[in-house]
């Protein structure tokens, strides 16, 4: 083994040069992944907080400022965190880093669709969600004339135009400058991108998983409604949940994650059905004359 020393790391060896290049590529990718993971955590937290805010909405109170706050919060998440992710994964296969931000994306979809349901009593469409995560490029030389197809069609006026200008974020475009003449970037970053917008692509499966989580919030909302005296909401929600449950159930070959969430969805539906049952069975007890009597009494108070 004496000749070991001869074969010691030879900095000029092509193999070593090649691996130095690999090292840079791997580190770049890992760093990017890590940055996305951090954005993902931020998105998760902000979306959860938006959901909490929405659970504070009561029929009786004045809720317009809550909705406004939520709209602002969601918009802020889109314009900062999601935009940053969009920049990170520009030119990448959208599925390559999906695992790094999937949980945040689902939580965001949960929040957004809950907000939408409370305002419109219906389910937000995937295209509308996707439109919110599609951004105009600030530095584009030519203006984008063709408006995206995915615009929210019957959106509440509270929801801002989903294609938003990106001005107040100060992310640098990551440029990989190659120090020693070898192309070490796994992916050439510099491309003509002036005519393409930035976006965070939402696979249909992520959307469906986010909507599954929405049903849990709907259940909470239904029970809260009983507590706060809104006796119609639970029936509306029950009917909505039944439709969603039925739609989920008729999916063939759904993946395991969907099935797991479907189980929770069914439990939520049972809870809402039981609440409706209780409302009905208790409501049935009042004879007409007593009800009139009761209402008049209440009015005196």
């Amino acid at each position: 083994t004496e000749d070991k020393k001869e074969s010691d790391v030879d900095e000029s060896s092509p193999v070593i040069q090649m691996f130095k290049c690999f090292q840079k590529q791997l580190d770049q990718r890992h760093d990017k992944y890590e940055r996305i993971v951090k954005l993902n955590r931020d998105i998760t937290i902000e979306s959860k907080r938006a959901i909490f805010m929405l659970q504070r909405v009561t029929v009786a109170g004045d809720c317009s400022d809550i909705f406004q706050q939520v709209d602002e919060k969601l918009l802020a998440v889109e314009k900062t965190k999601f935009l940053e992710i969009a920049k990170e994964i520009e030119q990448e296969d959208p599925f390559q880093f999906l695992r790094a931000y999937s949980s945040g994306l689902q939580e965001y979809i949960e929040a957004l669709s809950f907000n939408y349901f409370l305002k419109n009593n219906s389910l937000i469409k995937l295209e509308d969600v996707q439109a919110r995560l599609s951004f105009k490029r600030e530095s584009s030389e030519k203006t984008v004339d063709s408006a995206s197809d995915g615009q929210v069609k019957d959106a509440n006026p509270d929801i801002k135009d989903p294609i938003m200008d990106v001005k107040d974020t100060n992310l640098d475009n990551v440029k990989v400058t190659n120090t020693d003449g070898i192309n070490c970037s796994e992916v050439p970053i510099e491309m003509d991108t002036t005519d393409s917008d930035l976006s965070v692509y939402i696979p249909n499966s992520e959307y469906i998983l986010g909507v599954a989580d929405l049903t849990g919030e709907m259940m909470r909302r239904a029970i809260n409604s009983v507590g706060s005296g809104d006796l119609e909401r639970p029936f509306e929600i029950c009917s909505f949940l039944r439709e969603i449950e039925s739609a989920y159930s008729s999916l063939g070959n759904a993946n395991r994650e969907v099935n797991r969430k479907l189980h929770v969805l069914r439990q939520s539906l049972r809870k809402v059905e039981t609440a409706c049952y209780t409302l009905r069975v208790r409501g049935s007890e009042v004879p007409k004359h007593m009800l009139i009597d009761m209402i008049s009494k209440t009015n005196i108070n």
Binding site: R49, Q55, N224, G227, R282, M294, T298
Partner: protein
């Protein structure tokens, strides 16, 4: 050999560290067990309001409980003396559950006495701890909140049993109180922890109380306010 002594030193330090910890844990365990014993006695006392004539003797039941908290404060002082400075969170799994239970008992007693929500400051005073960590053995915000959630659950049961005992006014007041508590809790951004899980039950407590109020209302049993 140089580094051998080094290694044994490192590990005998650690052995010492662990033994000290174990010692402290055992002392804590003993005090906590006594605290729990007292807490069980207070609870038994307070739960007698659910019994047939309990609702009528609320104030005498409360009077019996007050001195029992003296024991709590003594044990708590003893517990405090066991914990090294700045190591509350090293050991707090051991008393966390008991502290929540005591926060609940304080809140329940306070409610029965005055129909008001106990503050964290009052809880701290009643059970003999501090509010702020810097001031010594304290009660965490989470634990105080957990106690309030237990209170809501207990009050929803009380609303039912009050009606059974013929007290139709109490459910109305409980309903107002629990609704306010619910509004308060909804302001919080909870993580997916035990507090969140318990909070998820609050809406059912409120619902139950509302149902009692409804039952009384439709029967014209609601007393004039």
């Amino acid at each position: 050999m140089q580094h051998e002594n080094n290694i044994s030193q490192v590990f005998s330090d650690y052995q010492k560290y662990m033994e000290d910890e174990q010692q402290i844990r055992e002392e804590i365990r003993t005090v906590v067990r006594e605290l729990e014993q007292t807490a069980r006695e207070i609870l038994t006392q307070l739960q007698s309001v659910h019994q047939t004539n309990g609702i009528k003797s609320v104030s005498s039941i409360c009077d019996k409980c007050v001195p029992m908290f003296e024991t709590v404060r003594e044990k708590m002082a003893s517990l405090n003396s066991k914990i090294p400075v700045n190591q509350y969170y090293r050991y707090n799994d051991q008393w966390r559950f008991s502290l929540q239970r005591l926060a609940f008992l304080s809140a329940y007693l306070t409610y029965l006495q005055s129909e008001t929500l106990v503050t964290r400051e009052s809880v701290a005073q009643i059970i003999g701890v501090k509010v702020d960590r810097q001031d010594g053995f304290h009660i965490d915000l989470d634990d105080y909140l957990m106690g309030l959630l237990q209170l809501a659950s207990e009050l929803s049961r009380l609303a039912v049993n009050a009606v059974t005992a013929g007290d139709y006014g109490r459910p109305m007041k409980i309903a107002k109180f629990v609704a306010e508590l619910d509004s308060g809790f909804r302001l919080l951004n909870l993580k997916n922890d035990s507090l969140r899980k318990r909070f998820d039950g609050l809406k059912y407590d409120l619902k139950k109380v509302e149902e009692v109020v409804y039952d009384l209302t439709i029967r014209g049993l609601k007393p004039a306010e």
